[in-house]
Symmetry: C3
Subunit: 210 residues, 3 copies
């Protein structure tokens, strides 16, 4: 029953608090896996969603998406997730000779003035059907420092160690709740200060084990 | 596609450990929002359930509900949640000129000798379809003090700071698990000792942002 | 509507970190409940799965199951859970005069190099439909000591107090996520060093209260 020779498609959702260095870790993992013969794509969920809604004439900007009634936002999210999974499945044809790894760069939660919104609610995670949800973590103190260096990008209320710890804990909880709905694993990848390459290596190893 | 002028119905589930001061915070939030032109109702899930089962001739008291086999309790809970959502939807007709805010006063978990029972299991949360689950929190020490002042209301085994912390953490976990099923946010509202009015104000602001 | 005289079937999932003493606690609970007239069976999920896949000719060993593609592993898990529930339901016929208690000895998560895999994902927990998920816990320090005494059984990377605490916390999160899907309770049973009989007694009392 097992066709060991079949090529594999691995779908890896990657989440983490703002300032944890997710993008850097992802780009290291991509170049490591690429160098070992894998076809690797990194899909940014937010960018993918924006492109989709603009193309379909639903909205013209991220702000316009956010101003939609919640029920319509949910429909859009679900449609985008389905579209993304279709795109992911098409990659096996795009790279006919290789194992394919897709990293979905997204959020386990979106922190707003109206609370922590699940980035992977049931109607999204069941469309994406990932193999694993990787939570990139780092020392909360160093996250606060990275956030305070880049005030244009992060809200100032984030710059507090206790708050970062709390958000990190909620990210774990949301990841577990989503993973349970699809039987995906939850993995922690530590991104220590100045060691993003090692974190990328850990992520690459983890993916190869899937 | 966006009809910005449409009136909004906001469904806000409010949970919190016994002794956290949920009722006081809710009544402040209601009077603040009422003063700003919103139609606000607070629905107590337990009271609503009791009224329903008595009217339908299913049970005569809360104790009788608890003595039902678990599978029947689940059916009742699911029916009650659907009935409550129907009632909530009818409020847009009852208040034809206003934005409507419904607070559902309930529990993320019910602590018993047989464990923590989810107050918002899938078959309840998917009927209620809230926009947000608000967790009212306070300093565990002050919660223990409030509980010990009112021994008639709380079980004595609750009067321990470590236990309150543990229950508070489980409330967060259960809230996240339920929110993930419907794409609701999870919000923390802090009710500091003697500052219930401020907590009510925070809750009102949060609701207006939805 | 309530048939108080009906015999009860109680389905109790029992989880806990490796080295927590789950088997000992279970065997105490079984003998206590057996002595009080209950028909008690302990089903090991892993053993049950292996037996099933061997009988059906799907696989010959645990390693072979693990080498199946993830989607096939999920199908097997779901089938095994349904089969187990059918078996559980048949026990009311096997023991026609008694209340039946079934303990399912399994894991809330399986720790591997590719992350924490949910032991009770949606497609398993909805087949098993337990009344409660019991998490057996102990002092993390004593768990590490028990693990290090039995290196053949546990991975060496487990032998660290901080890691055990982290895994224990994830076990709680996964248990809550699964319980929310079926309206089961989550119970903590403490197994203090040298007091497994007391833990078994607590578990037995808890089960009787269901």
């Amino acid at each position: 029953m097992v066709s060991r020779m079949a090529r594999k498609l691995r779908v890896v959702i990657v989440v983490g608090v703002a300032g944890v260095g997710k993008s850097t870790v992802l780009s290291h993992a991509k170049s490591i896996l690429g160098g070992e013969g894998y076809a690797v794509e990194i899909l940014n969920y937010g960018d993918f969603m924006l492109k989709y809604v603009v193309e379909k004439g639903i909205c013209k900007s991220r702000d316009e998406i956010r101003s939609l009634p919640l029920s319509e936002q949910r429909s859009v999210q679900s449609l985008v997730a389905r579209e993304m999974r279709n795109y992911i499945d098409s990659l096996m044809l795009k790279y006919p000779e290789k194992d394919v790894v897709v990293f979905v760069d997204t959020h386990a939660l979106i922190k707003t003035a109206t609370g922590f919104w699940p980035g992977l609610p049931e109607y999204v995670i069941k469309e994406l059907r990932p193999d694993t949800i990787v939570v990139v973590e780092a020392d909360p103190q160093s996250i606060v420092q990275r956030q305070s260096k880049d005030l244009s990008r992060y809200r100032k209320d984030y710059s507090d160690v206790e708050l970062v710890k709390e958000v990190m804990n909620f990210i774990r909880m949301f990841s577990v709740a989503s993973a349970t709905l699809v039987g995906a694993s939850v993995s922690i990848v530590r991104n220590e200060e100045g060691r993003a390459h090692e974190a990328g290596r850990s992520l690459a190893e983890l993916v190869k084990g899937l």
